[in-house]
């Protein structure tokens, strides 16, 4: 499917680099756009009626989210799918509160293939992934004969414009059939309505509903409303007012460049000599590095870049690999962030345990990328089904081709059994009440094919994903261990508080004696110091107060001394009682001395200024007793 049409692979594979896009535009003219479209429906995401509606919604929503992000607006997105006038016809309407589109650009954005600012910039954006909203407009037009209707407004004092637009498939030009200024009771935003041949089924795993749910998880700053054809409305509410950091565009990094691109960049540059070309057009090339590259490549520093021949270009590429070049800047990436990921997961999945890991940005072949992983465990999640993997590339959910994706392979390659999940033979997708979220953000996500549903097995990416997964898995194991320990404590308590008193009573009554004392037996049965903790969060005067309570009970037959340590995040300490004996990096330490058998001590610790989900489960450690003499904490 991918390779029988050269045009197609260039179409999407080279979307970031302008020269290829130019070449493509030239190629496109040689066959009719409609014909091209028909031949490549699968690549473009319109190969079935079920998939078509998903692709359409996805393009429109991705555009809306990107537009809001660029304008730093908290997105309010309404999606409506209605039945059309004929069988298998649906009408999709997507409305956002984004910055709007200036009037003369409306027609180009919606009815001209490959039109848009994104193709020229290297940065992380959702829209990189799809063929674009114009393809949806064209699909709708080809299947229903109806134009797209677009309504947009760029400011409160500005008129709104509504247009009906066709795409002239021969010339790849918009054809506006109606355009008028209208009143729209909205400060700014865009609404697009497209009729298309499609089928809607909510139950499908790869459905609009699933896509929106997955999208809501990684965009907790968005408010998304979805009206189904059945009239049912779903709301995915906003849970944070923080917009993701705006992504900066960067120049290409030398290590990510291909020969053809290098030569085209050299032809197009305004620089007069090689050194200035390298410094100006690439990121991370200094005067010194540029000279070193020229020397290693045996190319004159003063050579006009336009005159560089193929052989020289190849040597420059080789030289890029010989000199030390700093990794590309990573501020062009926009990770979701631990806190938002947790909020997103929590809002859609009711669960007991959530942990997230955001890896530091890394680089493959000159492209910066960053991996984030979240895990949730317990709660509503089915315990005997394979773990669900939510895959994302640049915040866009990947719904198809799970088996062919580096994310899936990374999950399958880990032996999850030591971490508390079931897994046949220690490979494959684990089974258990868990769900994984994996996000790969990059200026150039290496997809396996043009349909952009699976990420290729790039070693650097698989390593990063696995490192993050293992970190999550370790936290999961700690959580499960703690749960098991708590269960053991609960069992011991049941013995000493419920069963033992009754056993003493009953054994005495059978032989007609007085009830015997049980205290010594109690300490012998427990024979541990029990540590229990709980964490509560409150907001006082707008400030988050996280209160950690730690109970220490000496259930051993002897007097005991123990040192208790609580791991704390970077935060201001509020009330601490009793006074800690010391504080060191991330730890608050108390010495608890001379505890008599069955004596109980209480420790309170307040952390000020944390959000609710920043610190949900205290990590308590101890020192001074053997590991098997203590229950409820880990040895320090």
């Amino acid at each position: 499917m991918a390779n029988d049409n050269g045009t197609a692979s260039e179409l999407t594979g080279g979307i970031v680099a302008e020269p290829i896009a130019n070449k493509l535009a030239a190629d496109l003219k040689e066959i009719s756009v409609a014909e091209f479209f028909e031949r490549n429906k699968q690549i473009l995401g319109f190969d079935s009626l079920h998939r078509s509606i998903l692709t359409a919604v996805k393009e429109a929503v991705d555009n809306a989210l990107d537009a809001c992000e660029e304008a730093e607006i908290l997105p309010d997105i309404d999606i409506k799918i209605e039945k059309g006038t004929t069988k298998d016809e649906l009408v999709m309407t997507v409305e956002d509160n984004g910055p709007g589109i200036v009037k003369k650009q409306i027609e180009n954005i919606f009815a001209r293939l490959l039109y848009g600012s994104r193709f020229h910039a290297i940065r992380q954006a959702r829209g990189q992934q799809g063929i674009g909203i114009s393809a949806v407009v064209m699909y709708g037009q080809l299947t229903t004969g109806r134009p797209a209707r677009v309504l947009s407004k760029i400011g409160p004092e500005m008129p709104a414009y509504e247009m009906d637009i066709y795409l002239d498939t021969k010339a790849n030009r918009p054809e506006v059939v109606r355009s008028e200024a209208v009143h729209w009771d909205k400060d700014h935003g865009t609404r697009v309505t497209i009729s298309l041949s499609a089928k809607y089924a909510k139950e499908r795993r790869q459905s609009v509903f699933e896509y929106l749910k997955a999208t809501a998880i990684v965009n907790p700053h968005a408010h998304i409303t979805f009206l189904e054809p059945t009239g049912e409305t779903y709301v995915f509410p906003r849970v944070t007012d923080k917009t993701p950091a705006k992504t900066e565009s960067i120049k290409p990094h030398p290590l990510g460049i291909e020969l053809g691109t290098l030569m085209k960049m050299a032809k197009a540059t305004e620089a007069y000599r090689m050194t200035s070309f390298l410094i100006k057009e690439f990121s991370r090339i200094s005067q010194r590095t540029a000279r070193e590259v020229c020397r290693k490549a045996d190319v004159d520093e003063l050579l006009r870049p336009q005159d560089m021949n193929r052989v020289q270009a190849m040597r420059v590429l080789e030289a890029f690999n010989m000199v030390k070049i700093m990794a590309p800047p990573t501020d062009c990436l926009s990770p979701i962030g631990d806190s938002l990921m947790r909020k997103g997961l929590r809002k859609e999945i009711d669960t007991k345990f959530a942990h997230t890991v955001t890896r530091a940005p890394s680089v493959f072949a000159g492209h910066p990328f960053q991996v984030e992983v979240g895990i949730v465990y317990g709660g509503d999640i089915s315990a005997d089904a394979p773990v669900k993997i939510l895959r994302y590339a640049n915040r866009v959910p990947l719904l198809y081709q799970q088996g062919g994706c580096v994310i899936t392979h990374a999950v399958e390659g880990i032996d999850w059994r030591p971490y508390g999940l079931e897994q046949r033979g220690g490979t494959g997708i684990p089974v258990g009440p868990a769900m994984l979220l994996v996000h790969v953000a990059s200026t150039n996500v290496p997809f396996t094919s043009e349909s952009k549903e699976a990420i290729a097995d790039v070693p650097e990416i698989i390593d990063e994903v696995q490192l993050a997964l293992r970190e999550c898995a370790r936290k999961l194991k700690a959580h499960i261990n703690k749960k098991e320990r708590l269960k053991k404590i609960a069992e011991k308590y049941e013995i000493i508080q419920k069963v033992l008193p009754r056993l003493a009573e009953k054994s005495a009554s059978v032989i007609g004696k007085k009830v015997p004392p049980i205290d010594v037996v109690v300490t012998k049965i427990m024979n541990v110091v029990v540590i229990e903790d709980n964490t509560e969060h409150d907001v006082v005067d707008g400030k988050g107060i996280t209160t950690v309570g730690i109970d220490v009970v000496n259930y051993t037959p002897k007097q005991r001394n123990i040192t208790i340590a609580c791991k704390v995040p970077v935060a201001e300490l509020g009330k601490v009682d009793p006074k800690p004996s010391r504080r060191e990096e991330g730890l608050v330490v108390w010495k608890v001395t001379k505890m008599e058998p069955t004596e109980k001590r209480h420790i309170t610790l307040e952390l000020v200024g944390l959000e609710k989900d920043a610190y949900e489960e205290a990590e308590v450690f101890f020192e001074g007793l053997k590991a098997d003499q203590v229950i409820g904490a880990e040895p320090l």
């Binding site: 069963v499 056993l503 009953k506 054994s507 059978v510 015997p516 037996v521």
Partner: protein, 365 residues
């Protein structure tokens, strides 16, 4: 005499409570020890020629939640038995299970655990559950043959009847108590006893008149035989010196039925000398029969294979005969039912198979 038996049992039971009480007083964690009740802990008793529990002990300590509850239930059961003995009542094991509903946190989670606790108490006090005034749910199976029995019925009257002439086609039903105070074997005119696993085969032999033709006593085992059935067979064997042969399906579960008749069951190994008939012999269906008689078969299931594997390491099946047959069955991966013999006609079992097998075993001339 019977009364002494109950009082003795109660005083044995009270010792268990006394030990728990003493542990509390001494400040020690209450516990109870009893033999490990698995195949790893059964040994051959040379005196009785049966398999009994060995010396491995398991300890039930109040340190563990499950064991703590079992100890507590034990106290309740002891109390309950004592009340029954005092009130001259008795109950079924199932009734005890339902009575435990009123024991609050000490109630049994299921009937298996109440049955099992009753067995534990038998073992610890070296008594029979009948001594505890507990009787089983399971009834004994059926007997047809020329045996004359005297039973004391519920009105205390002595009834004498012949298990061939005075019964209908379903035969004489073995009561749950077959001890001497209840049942006496008066007279027997037969050459051997055939214990049969399935009702279908029992009825086939009855219909074909095998008991009369071959001068045998037919006993229906009804699957894994109840204690009273095994006890009845043992008494027949001991008191009348009739040899016992066991005729079952040809699968691992049937071999276990034979083992429980001849060697003693693992669950009741504490009373094997009382229940098992060491001279009982296995007739078939053997894995060799499946081959020799070319019987219709089913493929072994995973559970069958696991059961056979387990039997290979079961000391009761340690002799060459069983090791050979079990390995043969594993090799051919097939099993057969008794009634598969009908392949050759309804009379084949009585006309050909049994006479051939009995001759092979030296039971007939």
């Amino acid at each position: 005499m019977a009364k002494d038996r109950y009082i003795k049992a109660v005083s044995e039971l009270e010792k268990i409570a006394q030990e728990v009480y003493d542990d509390f007083v001494k400040g020690e964690i209450p516990k109870m020890s009893l033999p490990v009740r698995t195949k790893t802990n059964i040994v051959f008793d040379d005196r009785h020629h049966v398999w009994k529990y060995g010396r491995s002990l398991t300890h039930r300590s109040a340190k563990e939640l499950g064991s703590a509850y079992t100890l507590l239930r034990t106290m309740y059961v002891i109390d309950f038995i004592r009340e029954m003995v005092e009130a001259k009542k008795s109950s079924t094991l199932r009734e005890m299970y339902y009575i435990s509903e009123g024991w609050e946190m000490a109630k049994f989670p299921d009937q298996d655990s109440s049955n099992s606790l009753a067995e534990d108490l038998e073992i610890i006090t070296m008594s029979l559950r009948e001594d505890f005034k507990l009787r089983p749910e399971e009834d004994g199976a059926r007997v047809i043959g020329n045996v004359t029995i005297q039973e004391v019925n519920r009105k205390g009257e002595k009834k004498v009847f012949n298990c061939r002439d005075d019964v209908g086609d379903s035969g004489y039903g073995i009561p749950y108590n077959v001890e001497k105070e209840k049942l006496t074997i008066k007279e027997v005119d037969a050459d051997f006893v055939v214990a049969i696993e399935t009702g279908g085969m029992f009825d086939r032999l009855v219909e074909n008149g095998f008991d009369e033709d071959s001068r045998s006593v037919l006993v229906h085992l009804k699957g894994q035989p109840a204690r009273s059935t095994r006890r009845f067979i043992k008494r027949l064997n001991e008191e009348t010196e009739l040899p016992v042969i066991v005729f079952t399906d040809g699968d691992p579960w049937s071999f276990r039925i034979f083992a429980s008749v001849a060697y003693g069951a693992i669950k009741t190994a504490h009373i094997s000398e009382y229940l098992a008939t060491p001279t009982a012999r296995y007739l078939g269906i053997t894995p060799s029969d499946i081959v020799n008689y070319d019987l219709p078969t089913d493929t072994l299931t995973d559970q069958d294979v696991n059961a056979l594997q387990a039997e290979l390491t079961d000391p009761r099946f340690g002799d060459d005969y069983w090791q050979g047959e079990i390995k043969l069955q594993l090799d051919m991966n097939k099993k057969s039912e008794q009634q598969a013999l009908a392949k050759y006609g309804l009379d084949y079992v009585t006309d050909t198979y049994l006479p051939e097998k009995l001759a092979e075993m030296g039971m007939t001339k």
